[in-house]
């Protein structure tokens, strides 16, 4: 198998890791953000505790806890699955923060208007605030996505065959460290640059709505 093909395989795994974990993170992060602004204190406490704890833990420590710790309790996942789960759980905290900051950018008049016509919390959030918050969320969200692409390299530490791991293996086979390193770098550029452009395009598209 040629080295290009191996790199392509690594790129595919990195893309899968990023997309799957980001999907988990968006769903969970949105839920957490809603909890954080909800009128029910226990949900608010839970969400802010979750965000704080995730902020304080190194990603690798969480990953090792998942891969080596959970099997002891009878939860056995593949390395790939646990990397996806850990990445998703980890960045959900940041997505929560980004969405919350987005909610805070919505003009207070909008919320007051919604309240004055008698909307409930879920209606205000779902039909007035979140759609408008999306505009200011999409930029930071794109940045989080790029961070996620880079963070997915953490899978290599436990042996998920992503770009970083593939580069390491190719280097063992060929001992051509510099070309391999540059190849891996190019592979990451290949992923980050288009996603940066994509999110900038989205941001511009959303900005028209204003």
């Amino acid at each position: 198998m040629s080295y290009i093909e191996r790199f392509l395989g690594g790129i595919a795994v990195s893309v899968e890791l990023t997309l799957l974990s980001f999907a988990i993170a968006i769903v969970l992060g949105l839920l957490l953000a809603i909890m954080r602004v909800s009128p029910w204190p226990p949900f608010r406490w839970f969400a802010s505790a979750y965000v704080e704890v995730m902020r304080m833990m190194p990603l690798l420590a969480l990953l090792l806890l998942f891969t080596f710790g959970l099997p002891k309790l009878g939860f056995i996942y593949s390395l790939f699955t646990s990397t996806v789960l850990v990445l998703g759980l980890y960045s959900a905290a940041w997505i929560c923060e980004v969405v919350r900051a987005g909610i805070n950018t919505v003009a207070i008049g909008q919320i007051e208007a919604a309240r004055s016509i008698g909307m409930r919390f879920d209606q205000i959030l779902g039909e007035v605030v979140l759609p408008q918050a999306m505009q200011s969320v999409i930029g930071p969200l794109g940045n989080l996505f790029i961070i996620q692409i880079k963070a997915s390299a953490i899978g290599a530490a436990i042996g998920v065959a992503d770009i970083t791991y593939t580069a390491q293996k190719i280097n063992f086979d060929t001992a051509l460290a510099i070309p391999t390193f540059l190849g891996a770098m190019a592979a990451y550029f290949l992923l980050t640059l288009p996603s940066g452009l994509f999110f900038r395009f989205l941001e511009q598209k959303m900005a028209v709505l204003r």
């Binding site: 190194p58 690798l60 090792l64 970083t164 770098m185 550029f189």
Partner: protein, 306 residues
Amino acid sequence: MSASNLLYEPPGPIARRRNRIISVIGVVLLVCCALAAGHRLDASGQFDANRWQIFLHPGTIRFLFDGLMATLLAAAISTVLAFSLALPLALARLSNRFWLRTLAAAYIGCFRAVPLLLLILFTVILLPSMGLNWHALGYLVFGMVLHHSAMTAEVVRAGILSLGRGQREAALSIGMREHQAMIWVVLPQALKLMLPALISSVLAIVQDTSLGYIIPYEELLRRSQQISSFAPQSLLQSAFIVTVMYGFVSALLLALRRWIERRQAYTSRAVVREEGVEANLGGVPGMPTALGPVADPVARRQPSTL
């Protein structure tokens, strides 16, 4: 902050009762989850004394403490080197000279785009092949400094840009040179503004030293793994204790950040600008900086001049 408090009407008697019911359900759910997790842990005997005993042994405590010190040492060296590289990098990135600006942009772009893990892996492979046989700490710090100097340079640049151009222009108009304006007028104010963001950079550096695990450098995470390899029954316990130790260091840094923010909060303009630093980086307070270009509020306000 303000908007999220207004997302619902002040509850009346019926709504208050409903909120109370939902809150109770929430608490019950949380307690149930905690109990289920506790039961699972208990069923596999994770609370047994013999699994925790090892951590009462002074040798183990010293072992972990040394690991913490190794983590802090690596973080301290990386922070000092990365920060002292970041300032000239940011200034070069903002320079009027085309080549200097391009070179700095290329360096920053390259080392921010690459995952730190890849950088450290190839530092370990490349440096010895060039005849540099260092201690594991050296490789870790080398990789971290390459990556975090680029990251922090963007923080510094965002800080300088968020100050606005009036300060620099005023300094130039009273006859200061470009470098005098930077040193005596812009930087002192900008550094103060970016202090919270810099603390977040330190936090990121501390957490990233855990990548020393793969070199291997004998830091805290590696040590917990070693404890569990010679006392396999205590794997979860050592992971838990190490996580708490990381959490303690992180909590100290976050508290420092909050303290600084509170101290500077007496001028509201400073707060707005402080938030501007992190908004320029394309994120929310405390978020790691991404690849996206630092937004330039000055350029946005004045599109055609200059």
